[in-house]
């Protein structure tokens, strides 16, 4: 059944117009001993509707060849890993190769469960600073009314770019979940946090985490914009919880596989305020210039102008000399342009970096910089002496001396004949 499924999908994929920015070739690794795919049909169907090409490979089937790379190129754009029985995924897929996949720009959605956390996945997640609770650790919360699971309100949602709830009364239902602790690196994008009253422990084992230091769903965006997400329980995504978690699960796949929260820039330009470019007239100190940068956001179908109020421009040489909030200027179909307005370059020559470094958790990272020299004033660019009122005293002094000297010479020459004797005498002294 699965095979025909894949064939059908592949043919479908050929016609597909992908929704994700990067690519929609997706591999789902699962273990048929643990997961029944039909339990997740809602999730997969919604992905298929969004033109994903899904390959399913069960690691229980020893003969199945599991390859992420062909030579140096990755075969898939996205990877979903469901819980696996046993320690390894496959001899071709180690923690290192998962990391390599991510470093090569691939997106990974890893799902683990308290019953199984395979070594490669754990190793990979640990490298990202996500530390899921080991086997047999479960999240429990004795303050919850129902004993079959944990309900978390929208206050547990931590990132609006991943999922912004329409309804503040929304609840997410968690059963049988691992929980992860995170380190403090900025690439981590916490998505769903554990309730304050919960904790995770195994049978007769130490506490793994307690309270809101634990996370149930975590995103990660690397500097190369590859995304990874981890979900602590497969039930979270299953059809049985579709009622409560379906939308979040869908938005999570959207975010992880770069259908949303993706922004880019079409570049920047800066020039003198009269439009003269740097190439025509290099900047000198105290020149008035302006700087513009464009931003565009992927809405799942096309690029559209991206709107934000917190984009900043920096002019720095070791330290920022300027940090300006950018204001929206003009826009076209695809791009929103932001401008600094006119500003005056610092009174300091040097090699400056014109930079916009827009990094927000949940959005792809945009950083553009341009290194340009700001020169000192040339010898003829200072105000002339007669333009400085203070200098007029000295100028008149100079001319007075010149005038007096000319007069002296005239008198000296015209009178020297008659006083010749006196002059020679003086010289001899």
């Amino acid at each position: 059944m699965l095979r025909s499924f894949i064939v059908a999908l592949l043919t479908f994929a050929a016609l597909a117009n992908a929704r994700c920015v990067q690519g929609s070739r997706t591999l789902v690794i699962y273990d048929e001993r643990l997961s029944v795919l039909d339990n997740y049909s809602n999730l997969f169907n919604s992905m298929r509707e969004r033109d994903y090409t899904l390959d399913f490979i069960s690691v229980a089937n020893e003969t199945s060849s599991l390859q992420l790379f062909k030579g140096e190129n990755k075969i898939y754009d996205n990877l979903m890993v469901f819980p696996i029985k046993g320690k390894t995924l496959n001899k071709h897929v180690s923690g290192k190769s998962l990391l390599q996949f991510s470093l090569a720009g691939g997106n990974v959605l890893a799902v683990s469960s308290p019953e199984s956390l395979s070594d490669p996945v754990r190793l990979f997640l640990n490298q990202l600073g996500i530390y899921p609770s080991p086997k047999d650790y479960r999240l429990v919360d004795h303050f919850q009314k129902s004993s079959d699971g944990i309900r978390i309100g929208t206050d547990g949602l931590k990132n609006r770019f991943v999922y912004k709830p329409y309804d503040e009364e929304e609840d997410f239902f968690i059963t049988n979940s691992s929980v992860a602790i995170l380190d403090n690196r900025e690439q981590l994008v916490p998505i769903l946090v554990a309730p304050r009253t919960s904790y995770a422990s195994g049978k007769g084992k130490d506490l793994w985490v307690s309270g809101s230091q634990g996370y149930l769903v975590v995103g990660f965006q690397a500097l190369n914009n590859a995304r990874t997400a981890w979900v602590g329980s497969p039930e979270f995504l299953s059809n049985s919880n579709h009622q409560s978690n379906g939308i979040l699960a869908k938005e999570l796949t959207k975010w992880t596989f770069k259908e949303k929260g993706v922004i880019k820039t079409n570049g920047f330009r800066h020039s003198h305020i009269d439009g003269t470019s740097y190439e025509e007239a290099p900047y000198k100190i105290k020149d008035a210039v302006n700087y513009e940068v464009s931003f565009s956001e992927w809405n799942g179908e096309e690029w559209q102008p991206f709107e934000a109020t917190d984009i900043q421009f920096e002019l720095k040489m070791l330290d920022p000399y300027y940090r300006l909030n950018l204001i929206p200027s003009h826009r076209d179909e695809t791009y929103q342009w932001y401008t600094t307005g006119d500003f005056r370059l610092p009174d300091h020559h040097g090699v400056f970096t014109f930079q916009v470094d827009y990094k927000r958790a949940g959005l792809s990272l945009v950083s553009v910089s341009d290194v340009k020299a700001i020169r000192h004033l040339a010898h003829d660019e200072y105000p002339r002496s007669w333009e400085i009122t203070n200098a007029r005293v000295y100028i008149s002094g100079i001319f007075a001396v010149i005038f007096a000297w000319v007069l002296f010479v005239i008198f000296f020459v015209s009178t020297s004949k008659t006083t010749k004797n006196f002059n020679t005498e003086k010289k001899n002294n």
Binding site: G95, K96, L99, S102, L103, D119, R122, L123, N126, Q127, L128, G129, Y131, P134, I181, L182, D183, N184, R185, E186, Q187, D206, W208, Q213, F220, A222, L223, N224, A226, M317, L318, H349, G350, V351, F352, T353, V371, A373, R375, H376, A378, H379, K426, K427, N428, N429
Partner: protein
Amino acid sequence: MSVHKNDGVRGVILPWVQTLLTVTIFVAMFGAAISSRLFSVIRFESIIHEFDPWFNFRATKYLVSHSFLEFLNWFDDRTWYPLGRVTGGTLYPGLMTTSGAVWHLFRKIGLPIDIRNICVMFAPAFSGVTAWATYQFTKEIKDSSAGLLAGAFMAIVPGYISRSVAGSYDNEAIAITLLMVTFMFWIKAQKRGSILYAALTALFYFYMVSAWGGYVFITNLIPLHIFILILMGRYNSKLYAAYTTWYAIGTLASMQIPFVGFLPIRSNDHMAALGVFGLIQIVAFGNFIKSQVPSEKFKIVMVVSLLVILGVGVAGLFTLTYMGFIAPWTGRFYSLWDTNYAKIHIPIIASVSEHQPVAWPAFFFDTHFLIWLFPAGVFLLFLELKDEHVFVIAYSVLCSYFAGVMIRLMLTLTPVICVAAAVTLSKLFDIYLNFSKDEKKLDYSSLLSRLVVSGSFIYYLYLFVFHSTWVTRIAYSSPSVVLPSTTSDGRPALIDDFREAYYWLRMNTDEDAKVAAWWDYGYQIGGMADRTTLVDNNTWNNTHIAIVGKAMSSPEWKSYQIFKQHDVDYVLVIFGGVLGFSGDDINKFLWMIRISEGIWPDEIKERDFFTSSNEYRVDSRATKTMKESLLYKMSYKDFPALFKGQGQDKVRGQAISAADVEPLDYFEEVFTSENWLVRIYQLRDEDPEGRDLHDVGLFERNTKSARKRNSKKPSLEMRV
């Protein structure tokens, strides 16, 4: 000498013969001066030498490809990144403009010569002029026979050749010529009281100011000359005319050089000239009064006014300096008087090898037998003690001291050594080579003594030529960019690692890549590799240099942060351990540490780099700080492996084993030259996953331990 032999010849042809001989001698002198400086081109190639010349060369190229005004306003964004350098306002443009003018001249007359060849041949060409100026100078001091000797000495004396071989395109190449021309005109001016010569002195003084920072020497020597003469009671109106003309024109002219600017009226180095200028006015006025009033009254007037003037002058100088109107003495000046000053206060000055005190044998090495004729010459001048002799004496006393303190000033001492030695020798020859007829009877013992004395001195002259040639060939012709060596079977070979590495940088890195290296190599990287540097040999910003020093002496992660902050892409280190090249970065390391310790005494400590028994070690007994420092890791990376586990450092004579050298995680080796002299490392990109590069390195090296460790609960900071 030749002129003297012809003294006895009479008749109308005498002037002709004399002229012919003089011309022949001068042609020979020029020939000797230029040809002996060509050893470097013949033995190596036509290449710019050493460090500073590379900057001068680069600036000259900029000058000939841009207009003069663009050159004057040049803001160089490829050095001192990211500060940049206002190059046009911080260099002495005399050298570049001269060679630029020569280049344009040759083009005008249809001889388009590559600017590099002009720069390489610049110093030899000017050395001939120096010899001529020395001749003229000595002629004013004694006579033309002494002048010829002095000129000939000047042409081939190694002390001068050391800075003026072909390819040594340094400020000194032209500055010594200008120094001698200025002095020559000054002697003429003060002898004759000629305003014309004084104006010429000022003109060449201006040229000198535009060419070399050593102009301060003239600025102080001429006033000193006048001051001594006044003290000796030898004031006359000639001195007044010469000095005031020179000072007025020379000072105004020197202020036109952007780099000098208002220094002549603001810096203490120039105050002597200003003071003497004031003094000579007073003395002139006093002289005038003396002629008008009786002498007893004049004495009282003089004593009182002298005391008042002295008091007011000294107090004024102190107040102005204290209030900041006059710049205090510069560090280089202090280190002239207190040889330990620089070592304690300004390590960057002490770190330059040419600022070190001179070793005594160097005097003989650089001037051969002239050095012991020199005191005799000074003594002979003392016996006569004319006004101009005072100048030579003052010059020789001052310079002997300075040369003893700072080896670089040997260069300014050399001309006066030549002059004084020539005076001695010509005096000697005046007596012992005088075979004229006035003595009727033949005295065999006298003849014999003459023959012995003059014979032995002629033999010394021969030895001098021999020595000069040998020194020039062996010691002073190496470009230091290319190192001479011998192969294992004794054939000469060239070690060309520097150019190999710079060429690699030029061809394999981004055009705007930033290269961090110790400042010694800044000019070469800029000139040969054409890449942006952080620091270079124009050591104007001590802090910026200290930053590089700090990065080199810090542990990797810290260095990485520093370099990243400065946008560095590549780090270049010089390592001589394989070759036995002792001028490498590990040997310069202590200076890096000292300079950065001066700025960050809490982070860098020189003590930490010495073992408990106070040894500077790089082998297994080296300190932890030493082994963790970036420079150590970069120098010795893979070095033990080259010798199968135990590498013998040929410079330090210590054995480095593989366990001593920890792996580099933040930097990646991209290039190592043939003899390992130059090693270039690239900064790794930050890890996209946000891990420490050290952790990445650990992970790559050892997956197993990472796996084990991670199954436990990690100890993490609370997430906020």
